[in-house]
Symmetry: C2
Subunit: 341 residues, 2 copies
DNA sequence: GTGAAAGCGCTAACAT
DNA sequence: ATGTTAGCGCTTTCAC
């Protein structure tokens, strides 16, 4: 889909050579002002757009960044996390004239094949990867193939750049909140523990409990998978050991817990206090039943893209991506490899 | 990002010419079986992938479909509608070896410029457009430029292909439900009325009210914009005219209404019955307060992409996209232009 | 059935 | 400052 106008054609109409037109389009020097103006004029009149494929065949760049969401993330699609993330990434891309190719590794095709399709073929200048497990083979491939990429979510490996929120700190705040409310039997519904955010939020729970000198028995910790069902199952277990407060590592799971608690004839927050986690505006509807931790997902997306475009030498990304702190949750940015924080 | 292997290189290693390798890759005839096998062998060994840009420079096809979401859809990002839609589109694309380019017209760049960037340059073979208003200039451009495209959402114009749910019917069912419950003063919070789904759901409300011989005064109809805030404002107006039931054209607005109703000291559904609209699993958490209409968004996405790929002569799309009926809401597909229903 | 050769539309190195 | 030329890696006639 494109007009069949070519550089050649524009050159002819402007009475110059292809090179000159090319220079004008690419804002290169060595074109006299009047000529430049005349060429722009023609370009505007004709609505000419250079052919992307032809251009990238020679420049070896496509101005397309990929967004890869691995695994069957149906569960993750239950909340607006990805919408917000994509919104942020898009914002950055639009601002810099980049395009975004979205790849969900969910279809009938396996992840290895998807990887080949997406990354091979040279469609992409770089990649943003969301939601990875520890030691994800995808990451290994990207490193091996020397693909510029940025992760959304912490990844404990020197060579990997990423953007993340301070999951440990945020979880600590949440649990600390419950402890200050006077609760001593505080349970937690964790995310999958092979995922960074899952593990980190549990660590935050542990730290807060310890800080308040509260005992952390195994029965107070139930692993979930971010789904509502897992939240319900976990809540049943927690109720059976008599907790008076629950920190759920995601709002979705908190909602599941809420259901179970109410079904048990208990009131929230009077009988059981509940804190969720995520930026899910809808959760506000459940107030005062549910308290939640906000995470700046949209910004995380924008910053991830900023970082990536920086890697690609996107001309003047200018300012390094800012270190943003929002609400109780803050961002950690690993700017250059090795410089963790 | 791609290996620097070329056709030439493969040809050399296989002891054949470029043409032959090309034929093998593209599954063309006129290659003897043993040769074909040997070439595949080398390709597999080396992990060769043809360079996408070079290929589309000559074929004039990219195997990329665009997904355009016009306007600042922040409000629409509050619910998982787009996540599900993208999931469906992706499913189809993955199955047919197509890629997906996501364009949110939200950045600092205006829609006209975004259109040029995205559609010009020949990046895309076709486009899926979501969430359009009546007489959207975007649609006019696409028609004018002869871009193959499919809309998600009804569009009253002969030349446009689209996929949609039966909004009128679904709304009718929702309101009918309330009427059968014995309510006579039923109000509705509509979506934006310059959007098809908004207008259609209102029409469904009207039809159901009429069928039950219930008076429809203007005060029973309040226009919202799918946002929670608008739902709250609308609910206040409706409560002030003494409705006992509300049909909200989106779950988000229903949640807003729920808040307001509860703040007014009323119980849901005992004092005021509430029905929402959308496929928002989280809304289930609000049961029994909130009843909602499910829409098969994921399927809508998949079907839209099916239709588009059909337009692109994607070789054997085989079966025409099925006419799916799910839950109370059903799909209407305009398969070929002119053949509505 | 296979190879040779001509481009697709663009950029970039080299002349002028 | 501008034009000429040689490809980028692939598909596709057209010979053989």
């Amino acid at each position: 889909v494109s007009s069949s106008l070519t550089l050649e054609e524009i050159a002819k109409r402007a009475g110059v050579s292809r090179s000159t037109v090319s220079r004008v389009i690419n804002d290169q020097p060595n074109v006299r002002a009047p000529v430049r103006e005349r060429v722009w004029q023609i370009i505007r009149e004709t609505g000419y757009q250079p052919h992307a494929a032809a251009r990238s065949l020679v420049t070896r760049r496509t101005r397309i960044v990929g967004v890869i969401i691995p695994e069957a993330v149906t569960t993750l699609f239950t909340d607006p996390f990805f919408s917000h993330l994509l919104s942020g990434i898009t914002r950055t891309c639009n601002a810099h004239g980049y395009h975004l190719m979205l790849s969900l590794f969910n279809g009938p095709v396996g992840p290895e094949e998807m990887y080949r399709r997406v990354v091979g073929g040279g469609h992409l200048d770089g990649v943003v990867v969301a939601s990875t497990r520890f030691e994800d083979p995808l990451i290994e491939h990207l490193l091996e193939d020397d693909v510029p990429f940025v992760l959304v979510g912490r990844y404990p490996e020197e060579r990997v750049r990423y953007v993340d929120i301070d999951n440990v700190g945020a979880a600590r705040i949440a649990v600390d909140h419950l402890a200050r409310l006077g609760h001593s039997r505080i349970g937690t519904i964790t995310g999958p523990l092979n995922v960074c955010s899952g593990a980190d939020r549990l660590e935050g729970y542990r730290q807060a409990m310890e800080a308040h000198r509260l005992p952390v028995s195994d029965s107070l910790i139930v692993e979930g998978d971010f789904s509502e069902e897992s939240g319900m199952a976990a809540a049943r277990r927690l109720l059976s050991v008599g907790v008076t407060a629950i920190f759920a590592a995601s709002d979705i799971m908190a909602v599941g817990a809420l259901k179970v608690i109410r079904e048990a004839g208990l009131r929230v927050p009077q009988d059981v206090a509940l804190v969720g986690f995520d930026d899910m505006p809808i959760a506000a509807a459940l107030q005062p039943a549910l308290t939640t931790v906000r995470q700046p997902v949209e910004q995380m997306g924008a910053m991830a893209a900023d970082l990536l475009l920086g890697l690609l030498d996107c001309p003047p990304v200018g300012r390094p991506p800012p270190q943003v702190l929002i609400l109780p949750t803050k961002l950690i940015v690993r700017e250059s490899c090795g410089a963790l924080q």
